[in-house]
Amino acid sequence: MYRFNFQPVFDNLDMLAYGAWLTVQLSFTAMAIGLIVSILGAVAKTSSIRPLRWIVDVYVEMIRNTPFLIQIFFIFFGLPALGISMSPNTAALVALVVNVGAYGTEIIRAGIESIPRGQIEAGRALALTPTQIFRYVVLKPALRNIYPSLTSQFIYLMLTSSVVSVISANDLAAAGADLNARTFASFEIYLVLTIMYFLLALGFSTLFGTLRRVFFNYPAGR
């Protein structure tokens, strides 16, 4: 019979909690930068400049049809051949941003395309500047329309970020791997890690629900 031994886990809960904090930081930074990349990507994809659309298409398809693990290997091990070297933590952040940017671009593009033309024309009739039209008439309602898909993509990003531990970037999974190398209580450690990731996902989803009520709490038009 297998004897469970959770002692090493309980003795090092502070270390795991710190790892969880690093995962939260990494995910939020990647989300914030990734959101900007996604908006720029979506704007480029809906623009009238064909080469720009084409470049974004190549980026999105390349990222969406290859595994994140290979992307992070390529960025961390492959790019130094071109003279671009990064620390594991930076490479992890870059890989996550590049990854979520591709999915986010597609999601936000769908949001922008869901805005009826009449709404933009109404903005123009009200003498709004093009920047104002983009910000208030296109982008905000677009984000509101695709909010559920975007935030579930962000939660998926946080779960995916566990993979960055393979290039020895610091996060929750890396803290667990460290503990495992010292104590060999493998199953117990990964069980607790899984529970911690689940709680993080629940926390994120609660937070996104609150943000939705703060930013998009106005009656739907149409």
Binding site: N65, T66, L159, Y197
Partner: protein, 218 residues
């Protein structure tokens, strides 16, 4: 010894695709069985069944696939079974696929108008016949596009099996990279191979989705 990246390495990497495919097929078949069971439980009368299947889906969609792989891998030892990366990867990916397919197919079943099921009941069809001849065939039309889309996610997911030591495409790339130290070339090649596997499926899913949308609006 560091040696050049040669055609032998390229063949080694390309041959490893078969393990990526085998793992994907196993997980997809297992996931289809599990997913159907979950989708039927999610739409069942019994509250306990609905709750159980919902919890299963939430847990597997709310935790990283990497953790699921580690848990199954080390869980085999807990159960006193020999640790085998292929078995661990196949089981973990099957559970993972079951949760995602279960959720996709639940949506598809619920997209079939309630009246269809009521009419079948009125015709005195049993639950089995109602599902088999009335509800599921209609749900399948809605489900195919997202199912193909998930297949892409599953193929990409098999790359994580390399972390528990199963030699599929990604791990083959790592092995060659360790010998040749040409990461740009090696991982670039591996990325292209994944792209060749996944892109046609992505295109197919998108085309099916577009056709579905046309059929719905018509």
């Amino acid at each position: 010894m560091i040696r050049e990246f040669s055609s032998v390495d390229l063949i080694f990497i390309a041959m490893a695709i078969r393990w990526t495919l085998i793992l994907s097929v196993i997980a997809f078949i297992g996931g289809a069985v599990g997913g159907l069971a979950l989708a039927l439980s999610r739409t069942a009368h019994s509250r306990a069944l609905r709750w159980l299947s919902m919890s299963f889906i939430q847990v597997f969609q709310g935790t990283p696939l990497l953790m699921q792989l580690f848990l199954v891998y080390f869980g085999l030892a807990v159960l006193g079974l020999p640790i085998d990366p292929l078995v661990a990867a196949a089981v973990a990916l099957t559970l993972h696929a079951s949760a995602f397919l279960g959720e996709i197919w639940r949506g598809a079943i619920q997209a079939v108008p309630q009246g269809q099921s009521e009419a079948a009941t009125a015709l005195a069809l049993s639950y089995r016949d109602r599902m088999r001849h009335v509800v599921l065939p209609q749900a399948m039309r809605v489900a195919t596009a997202p199912t193909v889309g998930f297949l892409v996610q599953l193929i990409k997911g098999t790359s994580l099996a390399s972390i528990i030591g199963f030699t599929e495409l990604t791990r083959a790339g790592q092995i060659v990279n360790n010998a040749t130290f040409q990461p740009f070339l090696v991982f670039g090649t591996v990325a292209v191979l994944y792209f060749i596997l996944c892109w046609p499926l992505s295109l197919l899913a998108r085309r099916m989705e577009a056709r579905m949308r046309l059929a719905v609006t018509r």
